[in-house]
Symmetry: C2
Subunit: 340 residues, 2 copies
Amino acid sequence: MPFPLPIRVVQFGLGPIGLGTVRLSLTKAPLVNFVGAIDIDPAKAGHDLAELIDLDEPTDVVVSADAERVLADANADVVLHTTGSFLPDVADQLEVCLRAGAHVISSAEELSFPFDRHTDLALRLDKTAKEAGCVLLGTGVNPGFAMDTLALAATVPCAHVQAIHVERVVDAGQRREPLQRKVGAGMTEDAFRRRATTGTFGHIGLVESLRMLAFGLGWTPDSVFEQLNPVLSDRDVTTPFLTVREGEVAGIHQRAKGVFGGKTAITLDLKMYVGAVDARDSVVVDGDPPIDLVVRGGIFGDTATCALLVNMAPLVMDAKPGLRTMIDLPVPRAFGTGTL
Amino acid sequence: MPFPLPIRVVQFGLGPIGLGTVRLSLTKAPLVNFVGAIDIDPAKAGHDLAELIDLDEPTDVVVSADAERVLADANADVVLHTTGSFLPDVADQLEVCLRAGAHVISSAEELSFPFDRHTDLALRLDKTAKEAGCVLLGTGVNPGFAMDTLALAATVPCAHVQAIHVERVVDAGQRREPLQRKVGAGMTEDAFRRRATTGTFGHIGLVESLRMLAFGLGWTPDSVFEQLNPVLSDRDVTTPFLTVREGEVAGIHQRAKGVFGGKTAITLDLKMYVGAVDARDSVVVDGDPPIDLVVRGGIFGDTATCALLVNMAPLVMDAKPGLRTMIDLPVPRAFGTGTL
């Protein structure tokens, strides 16, 4: 590979996904050298990382709330960033990392394809990244892979494509607590619908996936619609974190559609709810030849998002500086794994 | 896109796949401008391309056997090359195209990942391509997508990968005549086994797919094995081109396996035979999380290979000069299609 190994990695954000990427990064030694950890939570700062992930041996990486200081000391190649979903909330953090000369791979859903929703922010981040000679990438299992990158790749055997339908069904009961809360599990339908109007609820990034897919195909949408509805539970379901009673909200059914030349040609359909059966990821391309692709059982989200963040590190290090997306970079693949 | 449209395309090789890419390229106007056609068959030279693809209107592109002349006149951006499977047979043709300053996308199976089987040729072609400032790519549905690129992409959600099993089942009865002949349909078992020893029979490129997948994962094989057996027909089957009687060869069952650290961690299993049922492409990743991906009905090969060749043109035009592979280039996708 055309870059020096090991890759020096700093983790920014130590919630469930961040701690997952820390654990995973540590397993990638000696290809990955874990050199720093940032979290703004004062309860975490000052502790050796080992305490947060239940390791017996200290890692000699002490969590700090001072991002600039950690970055200045760590000489990181790549920052794995997992602090929030919304680009305006995290843009300053991303800039700090880029200015310190590090590539950044972030789980911020709105960063996966930010050019429409946050045009000015995207331009600013692209400029900062280019000035720093660094790459900025937003990724994760969704947005980032299941409903956009994989769906786009599924179109390449097609001479012609009329429409694409992507579906993801996730049993939220198997997922981390914040995700169960985010899909509204255990709420009443009324409370769900009130909260849905805030626009910060449900899955973030569905429209970003749709726009990334459209852009990859060279299609310019006339319009893009998104719809969020609750899935009501038909029985009592208990997870390690909460209980959903019959008739309460089990999760979300979220849909996005893109209209092109007057007809709906891309639909994304996402169900994430506690107790979901028939979990799967599917991509149906109405094309020549038609493509009917399914990942049976679906792609398990929490593990996969951590994996995406870590696995993209080598590809990011070898890419052209700037704000990139998953479909700009080479075919994604697992890194530092298995029979090495 | 960062290159001037339309893309000026020349077709080199006018067999069934070549004529398919011509037809497809013509549908991509105005994004593609079809500017030249080369075939060494004197029966084809001198004819307007329209005669070969049953168009009523002339295309004003006259087939020529003189590649250098066509290339000098056409000022092509991209040559689509479909003359043969084996790199030593086609390397001089590829060099002529590169020296004329054109990017080349070839269906030559051995070009898909030529670094092991044809190390010297690969180095020579890479050098020529770099000197010319052009990209050379070998692709198609298989090798090129179904059993390598798609399989590699399926690993990116995985934190760890222990093994990968890729399977492709194709009903050869639905495919073009040369493919039916190539899989031995209608031969006796004895004749099949004699011909199998020549090493130029059956599917070409299975080991290339395996090595591309391994390289993408950063895995270095201890050894790679390939095995070719006939599938014998359990009934009489008639295709538009031939008849297979019960007990005769219906096609091939070809397997490749890669051994890493003493254990078999990649297996590719390909069945192509007349009368195959349960056609499919599947990728099973023994990883964390596990991935169980299937393209139901499989990816229809002839159309898909033409599509791959044409669809990769924009990505090739924007790539770094040299001999590239599918996994070096950005996530592949359909081009110039659908609702534009």
